[in-house]
Amino acid sequence: MFSLITAYLLVWTGLLLYVVRLGAQQRRLAQSVDALRRQLQRPEAAAPAPHHSVFSRKGALT
């Protein structure tokens, strides 16, 4: 009985941890996309950007 319960607990804990990690990663990505979207919506984003900007090479959005 101990082996059975431990085996199933291990499997579900492993899967749960993976899904939680996936969720955390998803939230991080959603925040990055949100930040990018805010940056795109700013009027000054259309102006030539400094070299460290994410759009520095093009300098403008089309």
Partner: protein, 249 residues
């Protein structure tokens, strides 16, 4: 133009529900349908998750190696993303195979571990998974990382037939393919199918994350990109990713 789209893929909810239902059905069948084995008792029920995890560990390696080979042929990082996703899930399945197998061994053989050929080849498979993920974690340049990881995956896949055939080719104590009650066999198949559906869903989700991560890294690196947002778009949710971003030459 509206290139930064925020749409939930069609049928995503249905796929989630189907995968959850498949695992739930498998669990219910393991608990209430599978008969209790006469000599091993309740410990025999470990086999329903152990076999499912072992299958997923091997399948994950095959997916990882196949997509790695396609990456080497095409040099397209999309295939490397599939490879990484399969490796992560395969490592998880392989780890759980060893853990549940060890618990099963303790209940039946009265030992946590023995150097049986099947156990040894399964351990090697897990070690290759670990090596693959360590190599990936230690390199920054995407194509160099993908190339080295692909070579490791393709070399390591040679262990897969050894794991499968170990009980037939070499003498050991691991069961070959024991005859089972039809009800037990049915539950085992259901468990394998249920967990496979769930892992397939996780594989697709993880790959979507890696794809978006790659796109954001490209933008951060200062590539020439164009993207636009619609005014009516809502906050992104896990189901709305990945976005479609277009590279402008």
């Amino acid at each position: 133009m509206n290139r930064l789209k925020n749409r939930r893929p069609r049928g995503a909810a249905l796929v989630d529900i189907l995968a959850a239902a498949a695992v739930a059905t498998a669990i219910l069948a393991i608990l209430f349908v599978a008969p209790t084995e006469a000599t091993m008792g309740l410990a025999q029920r470990i086999v329903y998750v152990h076999v499912a995890m072992a299958w997923l560990g091997l399948a994950g390696f095959l997916v990882m190696a196949t997509t790695a080979a396609i990456y080497l042929a095409r040099r397209d990082l999309a295939w490397d993303q599939w490879s990484q996703s399969a490796a992560e899930l395969g490592w998880l399945a392989s780890s759980l195979t060893l853990a549940t197998g060890s618990l099963w061994a303790h209940a039946t053989w009265n030992t946590w571990w023995t150097w049986d050929p099947r156990l040894m080849t399964s351990f090697i498979l897990w070690a290759v998974y670990c090596g693959y993920l360590l190599v990936r974690g230690s390199l920054e340049e995407p194509h160099l990382r993908a190339r080295l990881a692909a070579v490791l995956a393709i070399t390591g896949v040679l262990d897969v037939p050894l794991v499968i055939m170990a009980t037939r080719w070499f003498r050991g104590i691991h069961p070959v393919a024991p005859k089972m009650d039809p009800a037990m066999h049915g539950v085992l198949l259901l468990s394998v199918a249920g967990f496979t559906a769930f892992f397939a869903l996780l594989l697709v989700r993880r790959r979507a994350q890696l794809r978006l991560d790659g796109l954001l890294a490209d933008i951060d690196a200062g590539g020439v990109w164009t993207a636009e947002c619609g005014a009516d778009e809502t906050h992104p949710t896990p189901h709305t990713l990945p976005f479609t971003l277009h590279l402008e030459e």
